[in-house]
């Protein structure tokens, strides 16, 4: 994961010896293809048989083979400035965005002491267990974390983050507390997928959250909480309108979740249970998954569910991970989505799909 480049360019320009920063370059890639085998679509919305594999990025498989919805490349540059100070930037290009490369992460990191690290800049919002490494397919079991859980339109924030790490009575206790905001001038999910499909500016402000991880041997427990204020503007016929909820110009979201993972011998057990409360409206998600390692092969199964007043859907998945190379894994997955939403609240209808591809890190 480490290739050290010497930042000679600066040195050459200045034509004098300078203190070179070591820049580590690392990266990841997932090349995934797939198609819907059969599906209902949503007739009232003119949606053909489709599998919404990635909500925030609107990664949609249809009946024709496509390599766009899940394919992505990431490059990370980390400049180690010594004495605990470093600068990191990560550029991500995704098929769902027509490979338009963007800085998704850009932050400074400073080790205050052996237990605390401060970070400031743009990062991934660490809501769900897999949120902050959602793009790094190699790091987890499936082709993608279950779409039914990872449905929220905002996934980055700009702000500050304090991370900690302690060892207390055989338990590794780590976590972080963070605050910041995100102003997405044209939110993809709200602008392109959900009715009324008009350009939508989505703001999550006053974000305050925390994550607590408890690790011991084969057991990994994670608790997460985050609260924010939502503000939204929609452009209809060229006119910007502020979206209101009842009489209110904003609404408060409160997200809480717990995740329990076990990695015991050849068995892997993964689970997540989350609730988002949006001004009293409840959006519940959960996921359970199990895998069994047989040398380089790990067959797995998972079930994920989304439940709210109107929108309800679940996905049952079966798949295989094959660690065929020291830097890469091949995966094959079958997904069966059931959309049980009330009329006019359907997301993409029922579907059965296959996807396969390779995840790698370097």
């Amino acid at each position: 994961m480490k290739k050290t480049l010497i930042a000679t360019a600066t040195g050459l320009l200045l034509l004098q010896p300078v203190a070179y920063a070591n820049v580590d370059v690392s990266g990841y890639a997932s090349v995934i293809g797939g198609r819907v085998l059969s599906g209902t679509g949503v007739e009232s919305e003119g949606i053909p048989p489709s599998f919404l594999a990635n909500y925030p990025l609107v990664g949609v498989y249809e009946k024709d083979w496509s390599f766009k919805p899940d394919t992505r490349f990431g490059l990370q540059f980390r400049a180690n400035l010594t004495d605990g100070l470093s600068a990191t930037a990560q550029v991500v290009a995704r098929g769902a965005d027509d490979f338009d490369a963007r800085f998704e992460w850009a932050y400074l990191s400073y080790d205050l002491n052996d237990h605390w690290t401060l970070q400031a800049g743009k990062k991934r919002l660490p809501l769900y267990y897999y949120s902050d490494f959602f793009d790094v397919g190699y790091a987890y079991l499936w082709i993608r974390p279950p779409a039914d859980n990872y449905t929220w339109q905002i996934f980055n924030y700009t702000g500050v983050n304090a991370m900690f790490n302690y060892f207390v009575g055989d338990w590794d206790i780590s976590g972080n507390i963070y605050t910041g905001r995100e102003d997405d001038s044209q939110n993809k999910l709200l602008s392109e997928y959900f009715p009324p499909r008009q350009p939508t500016r989505e703001i999550w402000k006053n974000i305050v959250g925390g994550v607590l991880n408890l690790n011991r041997d084969w057991l990994d427990i994670r608790l997460t909480y985050m609260t924010y204020i939502n503000e939204r503007y929609r452009t209809i016929d060229g006119v910007v309108e502020r979206v209101t909820w009842g009489d209110s110009l904003t609404r408060r979201g409160k997200f809480a979740g717990v995740s329990v993972n076990m990695d015991f011998g050849s068995w892997i057990f993964l689970s997540e249970l989350n609730r988002l409360d949006l001004d009293g409206g409840k959006f519940d998600t959960y996921m359970v998954s199990a895998g069994y390692r047989i040398n380089q092969f790990t067959p797995y199964i998972s079930y994920a569910d989304f439940d709210s007043a109107n929108e309800k859907h679940n996905t049952t998945s079966l798949g295989l991970r094959w660690d065929f190379h020291s830097n890469a894994a091949f995966k094959f997955q079958y997904d069966d989505v059931k959309d049980k939403s009330e009329p006019f609240w359907e997301v993409a209808g029922d579907s059965k799909s296959i996807t396969f591809g390779v995840d790698l890190v370097f």
Binding site: M1, K2, K3, N165
Partner: protein, 140 residues
């Protein structure tokens, strides 16, 4: 996670069949008198601890992927396969939560580094350890 060519992969596949039979010596600077358990070593190499149990700062040095002693260390000290470890580090590296230990290509390099800095911890096959270093714990 260094990018390596096919020959290394073939070599590592061949090696995984014949794991190092010899003991591994976890080595530190002679002036470093800290006592270590396998669990302490594991926490240092998984990035869960930045200090020795006595509170002094610790810098773990790894052997390169594909080396016999590395395979043996991953299994004996960390109880994980190289693929599991790579997945583990991918998560930390790309979320800014940690960086894997620096890797060196030879036992001699480990001994040299450990001999020059009381913070550095490394490992070599037990027969390779010499008077420049102190064996903190031996993994049989």
């Amino acid at each position: 996670m260094n990018f390596r060519c096919i020959s290394i992969m073939v070599a590592s596949l061949a090696l995984s069949a014949s794991v190092l039979a010899e003991s591994l010596a976890i080595v530190v600077h002679p002036a470093n008198a800290t006592d270590l358990t396998t669990e302490d070593v594991s926490r240092l190499y998984l990035g869960r601890a930045r200090t020795f149990p006595n509170g002094e700062s610790a810098v773990p040095i790894n052997l390169a992927e594909g080396m016999l002693a590395r395979e043996s260390f991953d299994q004996r000290a960390l109880s994980r396969s190289s693929a599991q470890l790579k997945a583990y580090w991918s998560k930390l590296v790309f979320t800014g939560k940690g960086t894997p230990p620096q890797e060196v290509d030879s036992h001699e390099e480990v001994l040299k580094l450990v001999a020059t800095n009381p913070s550095i911890i490394g490992y070599v096959p037990a027969s390779a350890a010499d008077e420049r270093v102190r064996i903190a714990i031996q993994l049989d």
